[in-house]
Symmetry: C2
Subunit: 109 residues, 2 copies
């Protein structure tokens, strides 16, 4: 079963978006080269004063694959230069759709 990484970034409204994106892209390209990476989506807040201006949601083949990728020195040096962020691994606990009962199983949309 795959695992989901969710990482909210605290990015000040004053920081130019391009500057954040350049750093994030470097990290994402590194991640893409690692075993077990599946995909990632960077979300941008509609309102720039959101507490978390960007949130990354990625899929990995397993928690251990993700942990191996982020503990490599190459990544730690990159991540240390970025804004405050709170990465953690998740599983889907509940899915609710308009015409179905709440379910503990993930439902494809």
């Amino acid at each position: 079963m795959t695992t989901i990484l969710i990482n909210p970034f605290e990015v000040a409204p004053e920081l130019p978006e391009d500057q954040f994106l350049a750093g994030w892209q470097r990290a994402a390209e590194y991640m893409r080269s690692q075993p077990g990476f599946v995909s990632t989506k960077l979300h941008r807040a509609v309102s720039p004063d959101a507490k978390f201006r960007f949130v990354n949601v990625a899929e990995w083949e397993s928690p251990s694959a993700f942990q191996a990728a982020v503990t490599r020195e190459e990544f730690r040096a990159m991540a240390g230069r970025g804004p405050a962020n709170y990465p953690a691994l998740y599983e889907v606990a509940v899915t609710i759709e308009p015409d179905s009962a709440p379910s503990g199983e993930e439902v494809n949309q």
Copy 2:
């Protein structure tokens, strides 16, 4: 175009999961009854000491539909009793998949 709500919840590791889930389910059932709701997925952290033990990722038909739902008194009373949380609306800024170049467009998986 739909909009994405991401809401990280700061839930203490000591709080019984059932207690949080019961409150979240009530709020989610309310949301499901509102115009413009599409779907929602509640994510549970694999490690209970994650800063955000739960993260809700929902889809709405539009920002205004979501704003209308959360400004109703019925919802405000419910949300006021829950743990600290940071809801905001997002759009996908970048999608990266293993065998494609980075893209500003969402790619179905």
